[in-house]
């Protein structure tokens, strides 16, 4: 059974959203989904870059004002 691991990085600056995403991905089991939320603008494009570099699938990127949510499958 796959789980969704939520990571809230709202208000956090560089490099925290990227680092917290990586920490969550390390803890996740294969098939789990890591859902990261944040407001740091550059992380919105860099977290998907990191996921792709690690060969992971970015399920979606959504936005609500300056708040973004990225879902990655481990």
């Amino acid at each position: 059974m796959s789980e969704t691991i939520k990571v809230d990085c709202a208000g956090q600056n560089c490099p925290v959203p990227l680092v917290e995403t990586r920490k969550a991905l390390r803890k996740a089991a294969a098939g789990d989904v890591v859902e990261v939320t944040g407001t740091h603008a550059s992380s919105k494009k860099e977290i998907p870059m990191a996921a792709k570099a690690m060969g992971l699938e970015v399920l979606d990127v959504s936005e609500d004002g300056d708040r973004w949510t990225i879902r990655i499958r481990r």
Binding site: N13, C14, P15, L18, T21, R22, K23, M49, A50, M54
Partner: protein, 139 residues
Amino acid sequence: MAEKATIVVQSGEFDKLYSALIIANGALAMGMEASMFFTFWGLQRLRKGQLDKGPLSKMHMLGLGKWMVKRRMKKANAVSLDRMLEDYVELGGKLMACDMTMEIMGIKREDLRDDLITDYCAVGSYIQEARESTITLFI
């Protein structure tokens, strides 16, 4: 094998160590391996309680500049050096301490953050890591 970033941390200034740790954490976060080699003034920062004690490389102004920068960092919600070092170790980053610097400067293992240091070594170990790294930096 994952790609690797290798950083020589020769400087002990607050802002330079900040840059080094941000890059190192970024590398780990993006799926690379990372090694940091602490030598000379950089190694001073691995003494117990000394991580954020370095001056600014510019505009230190007897500590006033650093106080201002730290205040601005807090306002921007930028994380502390301590937090970044913890994250670095948690994500599997390696910390190497230069043993010749220890000898020259009279630093003993018990003076350093021995619990975090992966290895005490010399230039050969750095080269061995650097030769298989896609990113190498000297800060």
